[in-house]
């Protein structure tokens, strides 16, 4: 059992909150800048050098704007909703390591708010999915049909994607033998990164996490063209800001989870991180934060690459594709684990399953319809 030091924990929480809030602010700038670069534009560049002070101005705007509470809303839930959204997202970070950890040396400082929690990943999943309460309360209490539609979509989406999210990570947990994220990193330090052994699970986890975060291509809850603004249509000022904060904190949490669960956490290959000197600690910190930064960039990158799915496609992906595939994948991993197959067999099985499932799906698809171009007035279309 790790000794509990009140001040260590308090300072860790303060530092983590400080960093996360600033990363959220700068993620919005990164989002705008990267989108601009991908569209051959410049992006915000007026506030400070290269627009680097833009987040501060944005934050000031959020605070100083008039905070409107419409007369037709349910006041209690209306005010509660953004708080729930931000709170649940921040609380989910409690067990996620953000630096070097070592479960075999509990007396050393562990870079986690709550080290050595055995339910680890379960805590993150459960509080992370609580964030949907913020969305539902916000949409329902707004008393506005667009907000309600947005929050209904969100609840359906998040509940559907919880299942593949959990199923895909079960294989990793089976091998690590623990739900504790530090132990999962420890297993990867000894055996190699999980992304090598569970590529299909990694792919499904990333997909499901994108949907959990309501990010494009799964951002149907706030689909602007159809729903005005989605569940936060009626929100203004800092309440809207809190919804944003929750959403981006969710992104940070899941990016950390990608790094911790599948990309070795703080581990680097070639023995770079084998040691306990101060520079090893620094390198481990850079390693895990670098991986997280890459995945945060990946979120933005995918957002400006893939178009949004239709709602039935979204549900189809979850129920017809990810859930069956994740179940079969889990069964395969279980069988391989039971018969103590070598680790490379996991990779081979994963790839084979992916290609096999694709071939199966391709056979099921109806042949494409013949269409014709040109003027078709007055002529029956041949289909």
């Amino acid at each position: 059992m790790t000794p509990f030091h009140f001040w260590t924990t308090a300072i860790t929480i303060a530092v983590v909150l400080f960093v996360v809030l600033h990363v959220v602010a700068y993620m919005i700038l990164v989002e705008r800048k990267v989108s601009a670069w991908m569209q051959d534009r410049l992006g915000p560049n007026r506030v400070g050098p290269w627009g680097l002070l833009q987040p501060i101005v944005d934050g000031a705007k959020m605070f100083l704007k008039e905070d409107i509470i419409p007369s037709h809303v349910d006041k209690v839930f209306y005010i509660l909703a953004p708080g729930v959204a931000a709170f649940t997202a921040l609380v989910a970070l409690a067990v996620v390591p953000f630096g070097p950890t070592d479960p075999s040396q509990p007396e050393r400082y562990q870079f986690v708010i709550a080290p050595n929690i055995d339910i680890g990943i379960l805590w993150t999943f459960s509080t992370g999915s609580m964030a949907v309460y913020g969305v539902i309360l916000g949409g329902w209490s707004s008393n506005n049909k667009y907000s309600l539609l947005g929050s209904l979509r969100s609840s359906a989406q998040v509940i559907s994607y919880e299942i593949p999210l959990g199923l895909s990570v079960l294989g990793v947990i089976l091998y690590a033998g623990s739900l504790n994220l530090e132990r999962i990193i420890d297993w990867q330090v000894q055996h190699g990164w999980n992304a090598l052994y569970h590529p299909l699970a990694f792919l499904m986890f990333v997909t499901a996490a994108f949907a959990e975060c309501n990010r494009l291509p799964f951002d149907l809850p706030e689909c602007e063209q159809e729903l005005v603004g989605g569940y936060h249509t009626e929100y203004s000022s800092i309440k809207f800001g809190l919804f944003f904060l929750g959403e981006y904190t969710h992104m940070i949490t899941t990016s950390l989870l990608f790094a911790v669960l599948f990309c070795g956490g703080w581990h680097l290959p070639f023995g770079l991180t084998d040691g306990n000197e101060w520079y090893h600690t620094a390198l481990k910190l850079v390693s895990i934060l670098g991986k997280t930064a890459f995945f945060l960039f990946f979120y933005v990158w995918v957002r400006w690459t893939l178009p949004r799915f239709r709602f039935d496609q979204l549900m189809g992906i979850a129920w017809k594709l990810l859930i069956p595939l994740a179940t079969v994948n889990l069964v395969v991993v279980m069988v391989l684990r039971e018969y103590e197959a070598p680790l490379w067999a996991l990779t081979a099985a994963s790839v084979a399953l992916f290609v096999g499932a694709t071939a199966f799906a391709a056979r099921q698809t109806t042949p494409p319809v013949i269409r014709r171009t040109g003027n078709i007035h007055g002529l029956p279309t041949r289909v």
Binding site: V34, A36, W37, M38, Q39, D40, R41, L42, L203, W301, V302, W304, T305, L306, F354, V355, T358, A359, A361, A362, T365, P368, V369, I370, R371, R372, T373, G374, N375, I376, H377, G378, L379
Partner: protein
Amino acid sequence: MPIAEKDVKWVEPPKLGLFDYLYVPAVVTGLMTTARHMFQKPVTQQYPEQEPDLPPNYRGVHRLNRDEQGRVKCVACYMCATACPAHCIDIVAAPSPWPDREKYPETFVIDELRCIYCGMCEEACPVDAIELTSLYDLTGLSREEMIFDKEKLLSVYDQTKNSPKDPVRTSAGRLSVASEPPRETPKAS
């Protein structure tokens, strides 16, 4: 008329192979495309610092040209006001004080807010007196300010006559007589 069978082109969507059904390679291709664009030169023009490079036929604020003696070139024939689809030109003609023409505009007012910048006044003018310039940043604090009178329009001419974007398209202030065939106009340099 029904379309002839030979004009109809039948197309079939390309057959998808196993590789295409994997979806992930297609996503990676898309990601590569967006990543490539990140390193391309932005097309943004930084407006207040960088003036836009307008084409020479850009239709901006009007001007009333002067002849070589500095007088207004307009002969108050009402052709522009007649051609104007927005009815934004208001001319009051008076007998000309100069011997080379019968009339001249006593007042010549264009409502720049009503104008649709179609350039038909420019086409209608028989003496090339009214022209659209490349001035694009037309702003005002009141509606009255945006109603340009003769002096204002002549001052636009003084402001733009040396601009390479707005050449004075005719050199002469002379008029051809309406009963004669149109005179050869010298090319604008």
